[in-house]
């Protein structure tokens, strides 16, 4: 059987160099955005989703586990952060920490349950678990059901940075994104990441070599869920609301789509994919449900003709690792 990603692993030192150069270019480009007059809220939103997609990609691209319920981490962290900021009036840094910790706790529980099955069953279980959470949030009083939590105060990060100013908020979100991205990058290239890739390629062999693959998969799941939660907490400051949309299965589908478009198992693919999908939603917002249809068409086109994704194809063309 062919695996999800078919990257021909290039020689590590050169691969690392290519990727660091690409990272430098990406960081500089993102850092000068506020000077260019591009609408910062669009970029901030895209950055949150890019981090989310990168976290998702850690699990599917390197662990071979396709989660169809990653929206539950986004939504849970969002709700908890929003509640902490608005009702408990906590400062932003604590709000982010509590929201991320909630996603981490959720990932421990859901990971323990879902890694009991592999492949397609894993996807169905994560989807069912996120739907379970959706119904819980629909009924729980603190989420305010269909209305969601709105008008969330942004506050002063560490008591100094005024997050109500778009430029300040932009650099805080950018810092969070780059930090999360580097953490994922470091994980992929660590001994832990190598074992994860070996599980993706051939789990029985990894087991026979003495690795407790369940522990590796669980740890990858927790890391991925926690970072997805971190993205959800950051998004609360950008969108200033937390609603049921963020926990719905269609959101999980969008996360999958972003990563698929950019390239499963590529370092930069999820970032590119997130920007493309968010931009598309922005421009096509007036066309109602046709956006759903277009997303479906992209899914079909990607799976049938374009499985490497944009960055995967570019990397193959240039014979570089990206």
């Amino acid at each position: 059987m062919s695996t999800l990603t078919d990257d021909t692993l290039p020689v590590p030192p050169r691969a690392m160099r290519d990727e660091m150069v690409a990272f430098g270019i990406m960081a500089v480009l993102l850092a000068i955005v506020p000077l260019t007059g591009i609408y910062p809220f669009f970029v901030m939103q895209a950055l949150c989703f890019a981090l989310l997609a990168c976290a998702f990609n850690l699990l599917v691209g390197y662990g071979g586990l396709l989660s169809f319920g990653h929206a539950m981490f986004l939504g849970t962290a969002g709700y908890v952060s929003a509640h902490a900021l608005k009702v408990w009036a906590l400062p932003p840094e604590l709000g982010i920490i509590i929201g991320t910790a909630a996603a981490c706790g959720l990932a421990v529980i859901t990971g323990y349950i879902s890694i009991r099955r592999q492949g397609i069953y894993f996807s169905m279980i994560t989807l069912a678990l996120s739907q379970l959470l959706y119904f819980i949030y629909l009924q729980a009083p603190f989420t305010h059901g269909e209305d969601g939590i709105q008008g969330i105060p942004q506050g002063f990060l560490f008591g100094v940075f005024n997050l109500a100013k778009p430029t300040v908020l932009y650099y805080v979100v950018l810092g969070g994104f780059l930090g999360g991205f580097l953490l994922i990058y470091r994980t992929i290239n660590s001994p832990f990441g190598e074992v994860l890739k070996s599980i993706r390629e051939n789990e029985p062999r990894a087991i026979s070599l003495g690795y407790k693959t369940d522990q590796y998969k669980l740890l990858a799941f927790i890391l991925s869920g926690t970072l997805a939660g971190f993205a959800g907490s950051l998004k609360v400051f950008v969108a200033q609301n937390a609603s049921l949309t963020d926990v719905h299965w269609s959101m999980s589908g969008e996360i999958v789509l972003m990563t698929l478009v950019g390239g499963l198992g590529t370092v930069f693919g999820p970032v590119v994919g997130a920007f493309i999908i968010i931009a598309m939603q922005q421009y096509l917002a007036g066309y109602g449900q046709w956006v759903t249809v277009i997303q479906g068409v992209i899914f079909v086109a990607c799976v049938l003709t374009f499985r490497r994704g944009i960055i995967g194809e570019v990397a193959r063309l240039l014979r570089r690792s990206l």
């Binding site: 062919s2 695996t3 999800l4 349950i113 069953y121 069912a128 678990l129 299965w249 449900q289 759903t292």
Partner: protein, 287 residues
Amino acid sequence: MQALYAQLLVGLINGSFYALLSLGLAVIFGMLNIINFAHGAVYMMGAFCAYFLLNIAGLGYWWALIIAPIVVGIFGMILERTMLQWLSGLDHVYGLLLTFGIALIIQGIFQNYFGSSGLPYQIPDALRGGMNLGFMFLPVYRGWVVVFSLVVCLATWFLIEKTQLGAYLRAATENPTLVRAFGINVPRMITLTYGLGVGLAALAGVLSAPINQVRPLMGADLIIVVFAVVVIGGMGSIMGSIITGFALGVIEGLTKYFYPEASNTVVFVLMVLVLLVKPTGLTGRAA
């Protein structure tokens, strides 16, 4: 007591839909190694097909019961020929992603033209009214749905487990290459199998049209519950899918009576419990 029996009946009806849909998923997974995410969308298409037949062609419920599964089944076979067949040999996940995309396209198109609200579909004259069973009042149509679904499920089980065609099908599931060597056209069987699974979903859609109204998203949430049913029951056995489907419907109905707040979530909670106790599912083999 009346309310309890009423909820049990609702549970049995939902159970019929779970059984018909998870049966189709299991049959398709056996032959194509694909989890058909579009199953909810074709269920919806079945209901819309019945609606169009009535309002455009003037053909009533009984015609819809025959025509809708055939039309939607042919649509499914076209999907299989043009798209799904290219995925053989790839990771199973791509089948899930492709059919998810197809579901988004179908549901999006229907939403564009019909919004999100429900369209009414009348119960056919012959099945109106109700019977007094002494301990409860049974609406005839609801009784009909349960009995008819059960018959269809058992007929499908008979077709696959007891007939010559079914024997080919099971053999092709185990070892397609060898079956092809015996001169049996396996690709055509795969296409027909997908058509059968999709047709069963469309039939469930027709049955549900008078009860749940005809809505573009009527299958979207249902399919996730059916996934949980499939995880609980496993996809290894046809009879297992049928029994799990009905049983979970009944459990959901009981929950609606005793603890209504949990009725949306009970199937998912049961899935978690089953995974903790017996990770392979109740009837399934390790996958």
